[in-house]
Amino acid sequence: MRFEPTELTGTELALQKDVRDFLAAELPPGTFVPGLGMGAARDPAFSRKLARRGWVGMALPRRFGGGDRSAVERFVVVEELLRWGAPVGHHWVADRQSGPLIKRFGTEAQKQRFLPQICAGELSFSIGMSEPDSGSDLASVKTRATRVDGGWLLNGTKVWTSGAHVNDWFIVLARTSDEADRHEGLSQLLVDLRSNDLRVNPIPFLDGTTHFNEVLLTEVFVPDELVLGEVGMGWAQNTSELAYERGGPDRWLSTYLVLEHFLRERAGRATSEQAAALLGEATARWWALRQLSLSVARQMDRGEAPAAESALVKEMGTRFEQDVLNGVQQLVDLEPSLESSSVFEQLLARAILTAPSFTIRGGTNEILRSVAARGLRRP
């Protein structure tokens, strides 16, 4: 396992400044309700505005409307959006993983069909991996695609599908054949969430929000031209998709704004020894974690596949997100409420109610530790 130290170049720093200026003008503090990292609100108009600046689908090819920018440049933009609490929900999944996946495995026709709309901030995606009986053990998915004339008939149930009720498409991992090795015979299919043949049922989240869904697929016809990549290669493709999902700023910034607003609320007041200790340690950790995460992005730009490194960073970053929150809770004498008029208290309450998901979504920390440990055992 290797983490090369790296720094932002002059161009990358200029980009950082551009994004900061844009956010300060577009979303001045106090004029919007900031979100907690990637859990922030969805706002298609904001996504389109970002896209006009070239900040959606940045790493996608220019001929499909992307920016041909690097993973590090995308890192710089995403980092600023998340720490600002900007409403990235509409384009988030498409930008982070569906777009890059289509770029890597899609046909020319699929690229032409999907990528320009993703880069415009128009098209939104969900993730079609988990099922009622397949969480960490994804190779056990039971959703089945059966060969029919001109395509496949899809049957099964997907769960925990964030945004399925509002998004346009999702990429479904399904079994297309039975093989001795269950990692074979899986495929990825692009499925229109607006199709009449599927039903989306909300699964209310414990805080009462309804971004979570169950998606019932009953005889959904998927034409051949919407099979992503090679039939039977779904496992490898899916694994590479997860790599996009891990190790980025979204894995250590979810509670950043809780601490920033804590600091804002206490401005001018004396700092207790415990508060200083938390502020010192959290700042130090963000500073160093960020460099690890940046180093992973550089590795991706060099064409490497830092799967173990990403897993190591995500496991550490998500636990840290929870530790920051707990640290703040130990310092404040109040009853956190979503109904509070204070932004700090709202963020605190929302963070408390969602924090357990940080170490689950995108691969549980237990699975990440196995992935990282495998990387460590390799010489």
Partner: protein, 345 residues
């Protein structure tokens, strides 16, 4: 960037000389003549003073930390040598040490005579000269005292490294400290040396733990296959990666500026890792890690000792946290991305 050939050369010197027996003997005898001879022959203690950069010297310290090198490498060049050279005093060729500056020290300088007691002075009993930085009526003075001008009472840290109590009563070479060189500057620079040593030790400790758990078989398979053990492996690797990255960042910043933010942050993270990483490594090693014959204690005891040198957890967290609170919410993210350039510590 540090020349990879320099790192390779340092790796060779330390791996040849810092054998298990050599480290054990150094602890018994308070000195490792063989290690020092090789290190000095190659010039490793004086890299930053002779042609190399501070970053080079710091990267060599990191390698020294990997091998638990029982010699005053940080003291001779990066600390004492720096104080002497910056104030125009000769550095000389032998091993040097520096008075870290403990609150209980009672050093006084009158004319060119240094008197009083200094505590926790590394390898004082064996070095050629001890260098102290003393405040005299608001001005900082560098004093270098040969062995004849002091009595060193043998004391050790948790790793058995000499940390002597020194009583001075004799003539010193005295010069005004260079501008910017004061007690705080020494403390930051001292902390930076410990960060580098700790980063190296954490890295080696992680490798040792991965290696051991791959070989140790229980219940018919290597213990590294158990998820519960993997958790320890990952913890150790995370600490090594995080502190390693922080050490790089601090070293790089120190070559450009005072790097107070980066050093404070890196030392705090290294201190924290001294707990979490040694706990994980020892747990994964079981009883074997508690024995004298196995090398883990060369690293874990050093991490515990270095954790308290040049600023413990509370010292650095309150210093850094105080600065963050002072600067306010608007400066928090700029500090995380730009360090010292955005936040004065």
């Amino acid at each position: 960037m540090t020349d990879p050939l320099l790192i390779e050369a340092a790796e060779r010197v330390f791996s040849d000389t810092c054998t298990h027996e050599a480290i054990e003997a150094a602890e018994r005898e308070g000195w490792a003549a063989g290690v020092w001879a090789r290190v000095a022959e190659v010039g490793l203690p004086w890299i930053a003073l002779e042609g190399g950069s501070l970053v080079d010297a710091l990267q060599v310290l990191r390698v020294a930390g990997r091998y638990a090198a029982p010699v005053p490498l940080a003291e001779t060049g990066v600390l004492a040598g720096w104080l002497l050279a910056a104030s125009g005093l000769p550095v000389g060729e032998g091993p040097l040490t520096v008075v870290p500056g403990r609150p209980e020290d009672t050093l006084k300088i009158v004319g060119d005579r240094l008197s009083g007691v200094a505590h926790r002075v590394p390898w004082a009993r064996k070095v050629e000269r001890v260098v102290a930085l003393i405040e005299v009526e608001g001005a900082w003075v560098v004093a270098a005292v040969p062995r004849s001008g002091m009595v060193a009472e043998a004391r050790v840290n948790l790793a058995g490294e000499p940390r002597d109590t020194v009583t001075f009563n004799g003539q010193a070479h005295v010069a005004a400290a260079a501008p910017g060189v004061d007690g705080a500057a020494l403390r930051y620079r001292g902390a930076l040396t410990r960060v580098m040593l700790m980063a190296g030790a954490l890295e080696r400790m992680s490798e040792l733990t991965v290696g051991y758990t791959n070989e140790r078989v229980q219940f018919g398979r290597p213990v590294s296959r158990f998820q519960a053990v993997q958790q320890h492996l990952v913890q150790g690797a995370q600490d090594a990666a995080l502190v390693g990255m922080a050490a790089h960042g601090a070293a790089r910043a120190a070559s450009r500026c005072q790097a107070r933010f980066e050093i404070a942050a890196a030392k705090l993270l290294a201190n924290r890792a001294a707990h979490t990483a040694t706990r994980a490594a020892h747990q994964a090693h079981g009883a074997m890690g508690m024995t004298r014959e196995y090398a883990l204690h060369h690293l874990s005891r050093r991490l515990w000792a270095w954790r308290s040198e040049y600023g413990d957890d509370v010292f650095w967290s309150s210093r850094l946290g105080g600065a963050v609170a002072q600067a306010g919410a608007e400066q928090l993210y700029p500090a995380i991305t730009a360090g010292s350039a955005a936040l004065e510590v």
